[in-house]
């Protein structure tokens, strides 16, 4: 009997055992083939971006993906090899040479990979079609599906070559294991006791202090300009924080947790319970071999959660901020009164409905003689402080009337917030801030406005972030009473005339916006809410989709490794559970122990990842993102969503793990 037929017989006779291995490698090949097909899909790549940005992204991600596939398959291979060590020992006892055993294992891997390749190509093709469908729907693209083959030949060849390379890597890894193990090691592999964890207070305390210090430094960013992030520098403090948390995580898991559990055992009242007396020593006992896996999973989980959270925030925040950057559906400057009928005509051409409101706001620039003026008074007036240095503004307050202000807000559908605005007397005003105030705002401040060579003091009765006009057309908007506004208009010409166009029938009409842009010679003062949303989504969605793909992949990898790790631990300690049952542990109590053991291993990477993600997101949001919106929990909604999704993935894997473990132990 040659190796191939022995391997085939082995696979046939132990199908249920190999099915899990086959399933796990089919899964990674499916992902790999789907991604390779996508990155070789010229039709889609040209539609998404013409400048090669997505191709570069795909090439970068494919390196991560290859690394992941190699790691995942090596892990699965090692996991199944470990469970077969005794069998290999018996082969060796019967006189098989190690080279013969290696050939047998390689033949089995070859057959398994061939099966997984066939499954992966088919499922990957389906998955690729699903990705194409999702992207075309999301980005509203028109794609001729017949141009996209189900099986991309080049992708198939690339996948086949990669799988072949992996088989060689696995053979090398197996040979290292076999040739390093003595016959005794192989035969007695399952019986060899775990190395004992040594308890040292010093590394445990260092680990704990490092992690807490890392998080403390991260929180220091809330002190604003006084924080060490500003005084010392972002790069240096960022690196220190990263090192502290990385180093702390390693020591926390390897030293602090076993030390804490061991110390916790001294509390006899809590330790002598039917589950804890089993789970606590088990945790410590298995920590030696599991700490490396747990550290790796924790770091993977933290990186994945942080990337997904930051990514979700990066996509959501600009869209949320558009309610301030471009509050009207369409807004433009009126440089010439003749433009209004032409703009109206273009609008009517694209919308037959009569729900459209056209509101013209005349903005008057008014200077003030106050000593302390808000930064909005002068922002964008000189080179260096303007976003677009080609369109510098004049210093002063942009004054609009209370009636115009409320009318625009109403047209923009923001009736609800109108209730909070007080009516204004002639010496009162509402100040529209550019950014939320970090401390005390301008409420109560009095600014003498220079009107008709007279100084008329106005007091800020409230500040608001509800700007009616885009920042392209007005910054430092001051809402004044209608009477005072009329006084200004009597002897001055408006600085800017802004036309705000709103209405449901023109919402999201990109063609209309392009037509207006063409008419207004691509004026930078033409702003549109839906247009900007479309711009943000189409510019970033391909990047986010690809990163999202990688994030999901890493989550699945973490979950799968935790699954295999727990199954392996349970399989190794099956005899322990038999002892417990003989002692009088009921099935329910055994399930409780299994659940507790599994939750410990699932919660370490998840909770650490969660903490790292929260602190990293706070630093990112506070330090690196321009803050135009009020700090509200809603802003963190995408982060919470990313965390919830992670939690769901973990929960699914946890339930699967507990179910399989209970089935293994309690099966009669």
């Amino acid at each position: 009997m040659n190796h191939l037929s022995t391997a085939l017989k082995n696979l046939k006779n132990n199908f249920s055992f190999y099915a899990l291995y086959l399933l796990s490698i089919s899964f990674v090949i499916t992902i790999y083939f789907a991604f390779t097909s996508f990155s070789m899909n010229k039709v889609m790549l040209e539609k998404i971006s013409g400048n090669g940005r997505v191709e570069t992204m795909c090439n970068t991600i494919s390196i991560f993906l290859m690394a992941f596939v190699i790691f995942y398959m090596s892990y699965s291979n090692r996991f199944f090899l470990r469970r077969r060590t005794k069998e290999l020992g018996i082969y060796a006892l019967l006189g098989y040479r190690k080279s013969t055993i290696l050939s047998l294992l390689t033949a089995e891997n070859l057959l398994s990979c061939f099966g997984a390749f066939a499954i992966g190509i088919f499922l990957g093709g389906l998955f690729h079609k699903g990705i194409v469908f999702g992207i075309t729907k999301l980005l509203n693209l028109t794609v001729n599906n017949s141009e996209i083959p189900f099986f991309n030949l080049n992708a198939m060849i690339k996948t086949a070559c990669f799988v072949f390379a992996i088989i060689i890597i696995l053979a090398v890894s197996n040979s290292r294991f076999l040739f390093k193990s003595s016959l005794m090691d192989l035969v007695r592999f399952e019986k060899s006791p775990e190395k004992q964890t040594k308890f040292h207070a010093v590394p445990a305390i260092i680990g704990f202090v490092s992690v807490i210090s890392g998080y403390g430094i991260a929180l220091d960013i809330f002190r604003g300009r006084k924080s060490i992030w500003f005084t010392v520098g972002f790069y240096f403090v960022g690196m220190v924080t990263l090192v502290l948390i990385l180093f702390g995580t390693v020591l926390f898991i390897a030293s602090f947790l076993p030390y804490a559990v061991q110390t916790g055992k001294k509390n006899k009242n809590t330790f002598y319970t039917e589950t804890k007396i089993i789970t606590s020593p088990n945790f410590i006992y298995r920590m030696h071999s599991n700490s490396k896996t747990l550290i790796m999973l924790t770091l993977l989980s933290a990186a994945t959660l942080t990337v997904s959270s930051v990514m979700a925030l990066t996509l959501y925040y600009p869209i949320a901020a558009l309610s301030r950057i471009a509050p009207s559906e369409i807004e433009c400057r009126i440089e010439n009164e003749n433009d209004i009928p032409k703009i109206t005509e273009i609008i009517n051409r694209y919308s037959g409905e009569d729900d459209i409101t056209f509101l013209q706001t005349d903005i008057y620039k008014v200077t003030s003689t106050a000593d302390q003026l808000p930064m909005e008074y002068s922002i964008g007036t000189s080179k260096g402080d303007a976003d677009n240095e080609k369109i510098l503004r004049n210093m002063g307050f942009d004054c609009i009337s209370y009636s115009d202000y409320t009318a625009i807000l109403k047209a923009q559908g923001r009736q609800k917030i109108l209730k909070q605005f007080p009516t204004l007397s002639n010496n009162e005003c509402i100040f529209v801030r550019y950014q939320p105030a970090s401390g005390k705002d301008e409420t109560g401040c009095t600014y003498p406005l220079v009107i008709n060579n007279l100084e008329i003091p106005v007091t800020v009765t409230m500040t608001t972030l509800n700007n009616p006009i885009s920042f392209a057309n007005s910054v430092g908007t001051l809402v004044i009473s209608d009477d005072l506004y009329h006084m200004i208009t009597e002897n001055a010409v408006p600085e800017t005339k802004v036309l705000s166009i709103n209405g449901n029938s023109i919402t999201g009409n990109e063609e209309l916006f392009q037509a207006l842009s063409e008419y207004l010679n691509e004026s930078p003062y033409l702003q549109g809410n839906s247009h900007r949303v479309h711009e943000v989504v189409s510019l970033n969605s391909s990047t986010f989709l690809l990163i999202g793909f990688l994030v999901v992949l890493f989550f699945i990898a973490t979950g799968s490794i935790l699954y295999f790790n727990n199954i392996s631990a349970i399989a190794d300690s099956k005899s322990d559970y038999d002892i417990l049952m003989k002692m009088g542990y009921t099935g329910r109590k055994i399930k409780k122990i299994i659940r507790k053991q599994a939750i410990t291993f699932f919660s370490i990477p998840f909770l650490f990842g969660l903490a790292d993600c929260i602190f990293a997101t706070l630093v990112y949001k506070t330090a690196l993102m321009q803050n135009l919106l009020k700090n509200s929990i809603i802003l963190y909604f995408p982060t919470i969503l990313a965390i919830m999704l992670t939690l769901i993935i973990y929960l699914i894997y946890y339930c699967m793990t507990v179910h399989t473990c209970c089935k293994m132990i309690l099966k009669k």
Binding site: Y272, I277, I278, P281, L580, K582, M583, G584, T586
Partner: protein, 249 residues
């Protein structure tokens, strides 16, 4: 002495087996007795232990321990019954590798919800008798076979079970360790009145018991009583009977 265990017409037939492993076995064990079950491999000794100790269920027949009919017990009821009434010693020691010896012994007491202080006192008071008082903080892998089996015996006896089932407890031990363990069991039987049912194929180990039941083809074919005989004389009579059986085979 009152009857502790009573088995009537217990039969066990495994699926696909040609012959029953237990064939209408009836026996009774009195409180405080030390019984040894002997027989060749495959005679049904371990099957008997498994059905008597609720680990397995008989195909037919009834078993009563402490007045409780085992047939009436559900899975969890059987687990609770094992927890409260039975102790086990196995040839492979069956200690939990991840727990220290002290923790291993504490498990059944914890399951019975004894207070931590009482657990500590109960273990420490018996550890010296079993010769493992200095080994309590070690892990099973750090102990010799004899020490492990004594720890296993202490774990079984410490909770004062109604009956202790020992399946080939000396099977993996050298003669000196085996004698130590048997003396410990005998002492527990005498001092603590622990009822013991021990499966063994070794006439020397069996000679520590008060009564011997010899098994063949799933039936009890002979019973030997120690009565007033000394252990050496009893051992010789067991050895004779076993030799007789071997020649008949």
């Amino acid at each position: 002495m009152s009857t502790l265990l009573e088995a009537k017409n217990v039969t066990k037939v495994y699926a696909k087996a040609q012959y029953p492993s237990l064939n209408k076995v009836s026996l009774s064990i009195m409180e405080g007795e030390f019984i040894a079950i002997m027989g060749a491999s495959g005679s049904g000794k371990t099957t008997l232990l498994n059905v008597l100790s609720t680990i397995d269920t008989p195909t037919s027949g009834s078993i009563t321990i402490n007045g409780v009919n085992l047939k009436s017990l559900t899975d969890s009821g059987a687990a609770d019954f094992r927890r409260d009434n039975l102790g086990f010693i196995f040839q492979e020691y069956l200690l939990l590798d991840s727990l220290t010896i002290f923790e291993n012994i504490a498990v059944p007491l914890t399951l019975q919800k004894f207070s931590p202080k009482k657990i500590e006192n109960m273990i420490r008071s018996l550890a010296e008798t079993f010769g493992i008082d200095s080994q309590l903080d070690k892990y099973p892998s750090e102990l010799s076979g004899g020490q492990r089996q004594r720890a296993s015996a202490l774990r079984a006896i410490v909770k004062r079970p109604s009956i202790l089932f020992a399946d080939e407890p000396t099977g993996a031990l050298d003669s000196s360790s085996a004698t130590d363990l048997l003396n410990t069991l005998k002492e527990s039987n005498a001092r603590l009145h622990t009822t013991i049912m021990m499966i063994t194929h070794d006439a020397y180990a069996a000679s520590f018991a008060d009564r011997i039941m010899i098994f063949k083809d799933g039936c009890i074919i002979q019973e030997l009583f120690k009565q007033n005989a000394n252990r050496r004389a009893f051992y010789e009579s067991i050895a004779r009977e076993v030799a007789k059986l071997d020649t008949e085979r």
